[in-house]
Symmetry: C2
Subunit: 237 residues, 2 copies
């Protein structure tokens, strides 16, 4: 096994996934939100790219079983049930419900690997569980940090680096990019919240009054859920 | 001023360069070779993408003033005057000559910024000089590591990180990607040769019997030359 990470978002048409497991990471906040929703009994999350797609899809689903969530510019979209703060996705709100989700970066990253057989969803909150799953699969892990509008995102790469560190301890070889992410993780491991606060994306969320989300999103291993993305929806198992 | 680095090769059609200075880095070995050639009196280096282009262009130039150099699979191409080892480009060989150069990654990276006004060529060998030039220009530096066949290249990003460290000391703000490269540089600064030896690209060069090139390419600041790429050719000044 050999693990790799895409340090910047890659535009790969018709991505091939043979022998690989893709691990999509959008710490702030889409994948953390998906993990939290599914951990709290949400049946499945359907990631869509545009706001219009979200409304169109929700119309075709049973209203009482469906929630629309996500953000534009970091804020809840008018007419949506939920924003993109993981703390909104409590058991009371999401248990037994399906969520149609659209966010600026995370849902795009998921759609970019939609054609691949093995796609997992990760954040700090379920990092160990995702690594255990990867080690149990006979496939080469490829971390896919969502990035920010096509650019590098520090918090996603640091999260990927945390998983690389664990994979390495599990006997997995690392590419140079994976080794680099591991070094970045170790540089920030002593204070992940400070790392998130000082990141470009974290700074924007603080300006929007969403600082509490940062503290939620850097919690390590509060969930053993491993969401996988297949046939257009994200579910546990 | 704010400095950025592209941690993986980006496919940007018609790249806009307004207000920016692009710094192309291919430590192993194209940009190190270009710096060495120009430092030793070569008049200009013309980077071309394919071997056929190299032969075609050389045919149209005066034979006695023109050298063809470069590599495929790391090795000198049959019919070329020179390979891609910087130590081949001595004063005896290149002084007063023009070099038509084609390499697997470095010349492609140069062509990707060919339409931009400000493009500099950097390696460890001229890092301080390039940073001084950047500080003197009123433009935002964007480091462009050449990568390896579209993938991350550790040695180029570490070299970019070294320049970021110097730019930061010069009062330049850094993006998250630039900060990350700086951390990577600091992790390897104590032994750049070991970093190069253990890198994916370095390992391939060692297998080809080109280990001496690694020691050459990680020498820091042996040149004050700052090559710039404009109108299809790389020259000093």
């Amino acid at each position: 096994m050999r693990a790799d990470i895409e340090l910047m978002p890659q535009d790969v048409p018709d991505r091939k996934g043979e022998g690989k497991v893709f691990v999509v990471i959008d710490v702030l906040r889409a994948t953390t939100t998906i993990i939290e929703a599914l951990s709290n009994g949400c049946t499945d999350v359907i990631p869509v790219v545009t706001v219009d797609e979200a409304f169109d899809l929700a119309k075709r689903l049973p209203r009482e079983e469906t929630l629309i969530g996500g953000e534009r510019g970091g804020l809840k979209v008018k007419g949506f049930d939920l924003g993109n703060s993981p703390s909104e996705y409590t058991r009371d709100v999401v248990c037994g419900k399906r969520v149609v989700l659209t966010t600026t970066n995370g849902t795009k990253a998921l759609r970019s690997v939609a054609g691949c057989e093995n796609v997992l969803v990760a954040g700090f909150t379920n990092a160990h569980a995702v690594v255990q799953r990867c080690l149990a699969m006979n496939a080469n892990p490829v971390m896919v940090p969502a990035g920010g509008k096509g650019k590098f995102s520090l918090e996603d790469v640091v999260c990927g680096g945390m998983m690389m560190d664990l994979l390495k301890r599990g006997g997995v070889a690392l590419t140079d990019a994976a080794r680099a992410s591991c070094i970045l993780y170790k540089a920030f491991a002593h204070d992940l919240l400070e790392m998130a606060r000082n990141s470009e994306h974290g700074g924007k969320l603080i300006q929007l009054g969403l600082e509490e989300d940062l503290a939620f999103c850097v919690q390590t291993d509060i969930s053993s859920s491993v969401p996988s993305f297949r046939e257009g929806s994200v579910r546990l198992g």
